[in-house]
Amino acid sequence: MTTLSPFEQDALIEIANIGMSRAATQLSLLLNDEILVSIPTARVVEAKDLFSTLGLAQQEDAVCAGQELSGGLEGYSLLLLPLEQSRTLISSLIGHKPLLEGTDMRIFEHEAMTEIANIIISSAITVMADLLKVEIHLGVPGYGKKALDALFRRTSANGTQHHVIVLDARLNATHKQVSGSLVLALTVYSLSAMLTRLHDFASGNIKV
């Protein structure tokens, strides 16, 4: 079982939070409101346990959008929010629009969630690329089942289930707190490479 040492965990949280402050700046500018994003914890879980770890009974209980990672790190990155949390976030972000309850929100969720995920993932990954000195490219943003399938495809190569890094994310928008997760599914080789880079970063072996 792959785990993060406290050393690696601290380094990952530090890097992710630098990324989140960039994401928060962008979201605040975009929405003309103070948005705060932070990552208090990070852990590695088995991909098959992802939903149960996040307290979700099934895939339909979550809204997600993500992007393929390529270059120095290969895999998939996904922003995942429980359905109700996503609705709270979207309605507080686009509160000027009269909204109906229920399924009608999905029209807005789809597009807005894709962009919010795009901002958060880009911010986290570009900071990671800069600080760990790894070239990482991001693919076309995807939404919903398509994104989730892409994530699980990345973690079930050769018929074996692998691990994903789960970064718990907290978003504060217009005085409402929303909790979600930033999930990184890396190929076995990339996960190992990333842990090595994290260790080097935390040990001061990578000059920033």
Binding site: L30, G71, A112, A129, H137, L138, V140, P141
Partner: protein
Amino acid sequence: MWKDHETEALNFLPIGVLVLDDAQRICYWNDWLATRTNIPAGIATGKTLPELFPGLQNLRLESAIKNVIRYRAHQMLSQTLNRYIIPIPLEESAAPGPSMMQQQAHLAPLARAEGIYALVSILDMTDSVRRSDALMAQGIALREASIRDALTHLYNRRYLWDWLENQLSQCARYGHPLACLMLDIDRFKKVNDYYGHVKGDEVLVDFSRAVTEHLRASDILVRYGGEEFVVLAPHCSLADASELAQRILNSVRSSTIGGLTAGQITCSIGVADWTPTRPCTSEELLKTADERMYQAKLSGRDRVANGAGSLASPQVEQVK
């Protein structure tokens, strides 16, 4: 940057396409954009978007372009959060809606021998935004119609049950009281029989207005049945609710309702409450208020009953 056949293909596309270099200067501007903005490619090329559209400052777009060129990270700018990327005024339309073309943009890295560029494709979302706004407006109107009484425009019984369930959960959670007033217009059948249903409807509308004047923004008034109404007042004790009921009673009695002489229309009110020490279900709360309202009727009408005995009201002329 492009071969001739590529340019031709890009000019055929029903979307806007532009290419920006690392200084965010336009290197390519397709026919779609030239036509919609009235800016030919010859004028656009070499300029930044703020130079082309003075006053345009889009920090999200600038940052997205940087991410594409520096990190080859694909970016998406939604219509929901951005409205538009390139300001393109829409022609005057009788239909209400956006004044600028609504757009969604995708940015992708474009590798060329001389470096990485940002390829921006812009989709016109105006029609789908108009459709979605129209559907949304229709949906809201339908929802309003489903929870309102057509005559008085007060909330109906359907809304009452949803609202009360939610409020009682809040009361239980935060431990605050909630009062329920059941109001019934006295001898309303006689008003209808004597003056006709049109006058009866006027009485119902005026009565609801007279009651509303005494309510706080957090209270709701519901048309419960024919001439029965319910007031639900959060954070209101039985004593305060009884005072409120008495004020409503006095006001109705002294008002000209439906054009009838003051005093011809009166009502009887039953008051019940929910408290953390005496919790009950929505149905039980309404039932208690209803029973007390009948108690007020039996005690002579034009009075309030709150379970502690009916509060007497002065005798007034009733509709014969």
